[in-house]
Subunit: 275 residues, 2 copies
Amino acid sequence: MTRKELIKNIKQRRSFLCVGLDTDLAKIPDHLLGSTDPMFEFNKAIIDATAPYCVAYKPNTAFYECQGIQGWQTLEKTVAYLKEKYPSHLIIADAKRGDIGNTSKMYAATFFEQMNVDAVTVAPYMGQDSVTPFLEYTGKWVVLLDLTSNKGSHDFQFFTDSDGMPLWERVLRVSAEWAGDDQMMYVVGATQGSMFQEIRRVAPTSFLLVPGVGAQGGSLEEVCRYGMTDECGLLVNSSRGIIYASKGTDFAEAAEAEARKLQTVMAGQLDKAGI
Amino acid sequence: MTRKELIKNIKQRRSFLCVGLDTDLAKIPDHLLGSTDPMFEFNKAIIDATAPYCVAYKPNTAFYECQGIQGWQTLEKTVAYLKEKYPSHLIIADAKRGDIGNTSKMYAATFFEQMNVDAVTVAPYMGQDSVTPFLEYTGKWVVLLDLTSNKGSHDFQFFTDSDGMPLWERVLRVSAEWAGDDQMMYVVGATQGSMFQEIRRVAPTSFLLVPGVGAQGGSLEEVCRYGMTDECGLLVNSSRGIIYASKGTDFAEAAEAEARKLQTVMAGQLDKAGI
């Protein structure tokens, strides 16, 4: 999916919501557990319920891998279902991969050929040749980890050089030489709301994938205030707040309601920004 | 496998060689391509040929994932084969994973429960809570990326703070607070031979997993001179130099010869150090 298509989808659907498919077998409703592939049944229902309110889906590979081959199959089936039924939704494999050049090439083939998703999250620690193999695919995206939403983000991402530049800023500046804003996005955690101003100083036009926004939409306004560009420039992710809104037989309706709630706030923010 | 067992294996086998199972379907001998699972047949032959000369195997997950479900099956079969036939060889899943706490927990379950390998490589960028879930397993190891052997290592790993401390050193110092040398090893690339002196100043006793040593053993002496401790403290990896030593029907014999060559040099180094 091109940047232009993504922006068009955001404008038409009045949403920049990404639904995180962190599907945990231990957390899905009991009544699904009898089916052949409970995780896939769950994903299908969640996708059908939330598709009108979002522009992207982000399955996190860890939740599938930990089920072994069965989990990998579920992930492939989920991606195939999305591609067939909702081809205008961006699919982000949240895999956080990255290795030396010839190995990253294999990961790029895994996600962009074998599985054929639109985007993959990549870890920056190993530098340029660990990222560039993912950039050799037209219409595909690298979502580079920059400033994450977890506590451990403070261990290294704020490590600062003698000029006062933190590592997250160096990652933005250096990686900007590898690809433009039409191929590279960045993960920027919403728990650091005021940081968006700093990020935009360095990456004024890049799309930011923003995890850590609760179902309540608590910090969503703040993220938009500091992070939104005149082409939106945001994909805000919610996982647990949507997909585990109910553990009953009404889980899909509950997920729909949560997604709609976030979409309504997002539509308001887009209106306000004249997008 | 405990640290004590690993050291015992190194002493008995007179080797600290790790064979990298970077098994690429495009590179394995033609005569294997007719079998049901060519990658597994290849791995089995390589393992049987090299086991007397090494103490560890390191399948890189990228090479298996890019074959989809079939590849994931091959990886599981390879690990099961190793565990059954060579239970005293350390199995390192070179996966370079790392995510927020609840997600890293899933990856830890994938590799330490579902697949049951002994060690997994982890990327440090997301900090403590992305690593600690892997440390909750007794007898299992985290191999943390520190100073990698690729060109891109210079992009961020040498980023230096106002006191002159580079990021790779900060990773060593901070992560030492998360686990001891009985649970954590570090990836340190051999292309930076003289750097081992620096590393040992900060991590005097930790095991280092050293990629980037060619089949010729070119820099092996230098790695030992600066990196070896009185308990060895090194696992030196060779992948392509061993497993692709020949593309003919003699590929296993050629791999054996290369592994034996490296083991001979290693035995000499262990003798010299009185280990």
